[in-house]
Symmetry: C2
Subunit: 337 residues, 2 copies
């Protein structure tokens, strides 16, 4: 924008650079016949003055700001619920939401800028230094939802209080009288998993309950991890009387595995999940779980993305929304107490 509020024109840049409009036009269109140092100077001025080529003005003038949401792997329930929060907030704020799977193609970030996207929201995404460099080059703001990495100040992120959630889940089991509580979790590398696990450990320690090595099993955030992990726990010499699962899918798998060997939930084994997706309500028995405010997290991510797109700098590069224990029917006092 120029001081008077009109768009920057090639003439403005030409004046500032001391070259002709024709030369600036060549730089904008990537023609070859421009001296390298002239090109550099002009590019710098174009960027500083926020020049936008006519074909791209559509982005600002007509279309609502468009945010790209990227996810990895399948569109799981908890991604879907987060997405719903993003969509609802976008509708409220007049933004559009494009959804895609993360590909990591060579110029992905610059391609998104070319397509008119104003920011990216990555759902539970891993990002490498290469990703961050590509992003920096493109100037595209990124918000990571439920980050798998430790918050990095170069990236904005929205998560939930996973540690507090793990603490609450485990305290609930302890308060029912359980002492042998195991943790059947997600990927050891994922920070959300680590935080839940340390919440569990903290609660156990505070109560003076032992946590044998064998009581903490990492895995994936899948039904199968529950199906395979629970039998391994139940085969231990001192099997747990309660399992805190890293998410609802794992919990449902664990319940199924227990049932397959004739154990009843919660009479013979208590199970707590995490997320409180609709799966938790539909499980049999309905799962005691730790609610993540997935819709609200999606909304917060969208608002952050729009603010970054407008050039604002949020106060904090990472926020966490509160988790909450939801007690249903999959937990009870241990059998022999």
């Amino acid at each position: 924008m120029r001081p008077n509020g009109r768009r920057t024109t090639l003439a403005d840049i030409a004046r500032a650079a001391g070259v002709s409009v024709a030369t600036v036009s060549k730089v904008v269109n990537g023609r070859g016949d421009v001296a390298p140092h002239t090109r550099t100077r002009v590019q710098e001025l174009l960027h500083r003055h926020d020049y936008l080529a006519p074909v791209f003005r559509h982005t600002e003038a007509v279309a609502s700001p468009t945010i790209e949401v990227q996810f990895k792997g399948g569109l799981k329930l908890y991604v879907a619920e987060t997405l719903e929060g993003i969509i609802d907030s976008a509708a409220e704020l007049g933004a559009s939401v494009v959804i895609s799977k993360a590909t990591g193609a060579p110029h992905w970030a610059r391609d998104l800028v070319s397509a008119g996207r104003r920011a990216v929201i990555a759902v539970t995404s891993v990002y490498t230094t290469a990703h961050l460099n590509e992003l920096a080059r493109s100037g595209l703001p990124l918000v990571v939802l439920d980050p798998l990495h430790l918050p990095d100040s170069r990236v904005h992120s929205v998560g939930a209080t996973n540690f507090a959630g793990g603490l609450a889940a485990t305290r609930h089991l302890l308060s029912l009288g359980h002492r042998r509580v195991a943790y059947l979790g997600g990927p050891a590398m994922a920070v959300c998993n680590q935080a839940r696990m340390h919440g569990y450990r903290a609660a156990m320690e505070a109560e003076g309950a032992r946590v044998p090595e064998t009581y903490v099993r990492p895995g994936e955030f899948t039904h199968e991890t529950g199906l395979l992990g629970a039998p391994a726990l139940l085969d231990l010499e001192e099997p747990p009387t309660a399992v805190f699962a890293g998410n609802d899918e794992i919990a449902v798998g664990a319940v199924e595995a227990a049932r397959a060997r004739g154990l009843r939930v919660p009479e013979d084994l208590s199970v707590v999940g995490f997320d409180d997706t609709s799966l938790a309500r539909m499980a049999s028995p309905p799962l005691t779980t730790v609610r993540q405010p997935l819709r609200e997290m999606g909304g917060a991510a969208l608002r952050t993305a729009l603010r970054l797109a407008d050039g604002e700098k949020p106060e904090s590069h990472h926020i966490e929304l509160a988790t909450e224990l939801v007690v249903r029917a999959s937990t009870a006092p241990p059998r022999r107490w």
Copy 2:
């Protein structure tokens, strides 16, 4: 486009209409100082020559074709799985997918055209005459996925062979020896529900099995319908020994209700679902269900939408993909046979 392949310009239209470029410009920009009949004639020519204002050329020139996917209510598992099919096909074909909830605001279709969308995919949507009129005015192609209405030749739609699925599910139960089979379905008005129910009736009749009035219960496609409907069936004087549910959520609710009154599935009651979402695999016991090829249906809808956007006319305005019975652990021969 002009004959030589270049874009139609205002000058082309002015020549064709026998007016000045200035007048055409006014029509394009919706200014008031144009005689009504002049405006009409110019608009007609603009449309015929496919004139695209500069701000909108971005749509064709730079961005990939963008399809809007609209859904109603929550982003349920089966919507999410369909959406995944749409996203994957879009990535393959270089299209972008915008996702939103259907609002039905006054000029929704024209607003979508203004935002550069090339077509709409509505997931399980109701459409009224008002909707169709608004669509016709906007020129935006619509593809309905899993239509709730009977196929209408003005609308393109993609569905599954619901009747055949209902038939297969019921035959499976009959072949296990069940004779008292009930149908716990979705909304009575939804054609997909009607087709499943009639497939059920056809199978029952073919086998000479009675279908008392009370054996067919409509509801919603929700867990709650199963939770509430199954007890009503089990309270009948001649309770069914098997329940064919209109979708997986209903089936899971029915299983839970049966268990709540001490019945085991499948020993005391067999239950079949419909959809084969991931919920069916995670249910306890894993559900016998009728698979809808949701990803493939999403892909077919996307391809149809892109073809319509390019002005092609698909051979048929409605296609159905095949359903398939998936036998898991929620069905067995009846107890007293």
